[in-house]
Point group: C4
Chain length 125, copies 4
């Protein structure tokens, strides 16, 4: 029913996980996500690379999105090869072995009321 | 006066209808929309498919946008084939039989003050 | 110094000027803008068309952006051929006789604290 | 591991650094950034040009992003050839000698609670 849609390579130049949050609800903790949609009938194997201002990139963070599924990955939950520090700028790329679509979102709850940003990531390939 | 503009296939990887809202005004209830613009002189027949992290996609949700009109569809108002649950991640695709343009917006009113996000959806085809 | 950059046709499916605002500062009144950048050495003559859910499109709203200038047009300041009603969904297209770049932004000040959204418009042509 | 991704020319039509901020934390001062990701193995030399509604463009502001690094540039920190005034509309272009990816973000802290906007810039070349 749905056409195949997407690209194999994506970039997100903006990255920043605020160090502070307000309240105890994990869904309202300050965080950033990359939302990945896989409309194909094959599982997508992702390699996410994280870039910094003054040191070598870290990665790949290996993730997967099953066929006909979406996964919303929180950058603050990344553990292997190492966590992403809060309060520091970073950027990221996503490489997939099948076409996917990526969107970047931040919830900033440093203050009593939340702020949100979102954009489709930059596609290539 | 206006040139034909748009694509027949669109994807929105980010989807999340907050479970809570503040206040009684329906316009300020937490919601997500896909705004569709049809600049052609033919009615656009849309098939929207909704994807989830751990179960089969649901759809098509059938919508239409008359020639030279715009329609802003609220995901929380989708009923057939089934409502979209609040508080759970999802993603969506839009297929149209004529070229259209799609934009994704969320109003989050979980707290006293609103937050907004928006992006042009990812086009293909 | 700067390369020519842009397209002649743009679409913004999301449009909504909140009916209410908080406070007296005109810069903080709820509004939407289309920001247009003209990097060429010729003046850009724009025709903006506004689309609605249930009636004929209105336009063209005629605007211009001088060579090597940017102009940020507030939709709530449009007067000819007619003002855009607050509190109702709309969409818009921008046609230019030279390449330009368009970005859509909303400031929502219905509540005490503002919310913002922005996206590059959808290009064509 | 990562494929080369990006373009050499980018435009950001929306620009506005709010004149006011709330609080003393520099990270929460109202500001705009252009986030630049350089995935290549060569340093990126950038020329940023700033456009205004009613006067000649200013630039180039010369910036660099080392190979395999990201840099998030705050427009309110630009000094040479001249600072960008707060409270006035502007726009910008970024020219790079190697492919990069650019994203535009604003933090508005004029009021007690922040608002955020972000979008991938418009690519060309």
């Amino acid at each position: 029913m749905t056409q195949l849609i997407g690209k194999r390579s994506w970039a997100i130049p903006e990255g920043y996980i605020p160090a502070e949050s307000t309240g105890d609800d994990p869904a309202l903790e300050s965080h950033e996500t990359v939302c990945v949609l896989n409309t194909t009938d094959e599982d997508a194997n992702l390699e996410i690379t994280v870039y910094f201002p003054d040191r070598e990139p870290v990665g790949p963070y290996e993730k997967s999105v099953p066929a006909s599924r979406t996964r919303h990955f929180r950058f603050d939950a990344f553990e292997e090869p190492e966590p992403i520090p809060r309060g520091e700028p970073y950027a990221s790329t996503v490489q997939s072995d099948v076409p996917v679509v990526c969107q970047h979102t931040r919830l900033d709850s440093r203050q009593a009321e939340n702020a949100l940003l979102s954009t489709i990531a930059f596609p290539d390939g």
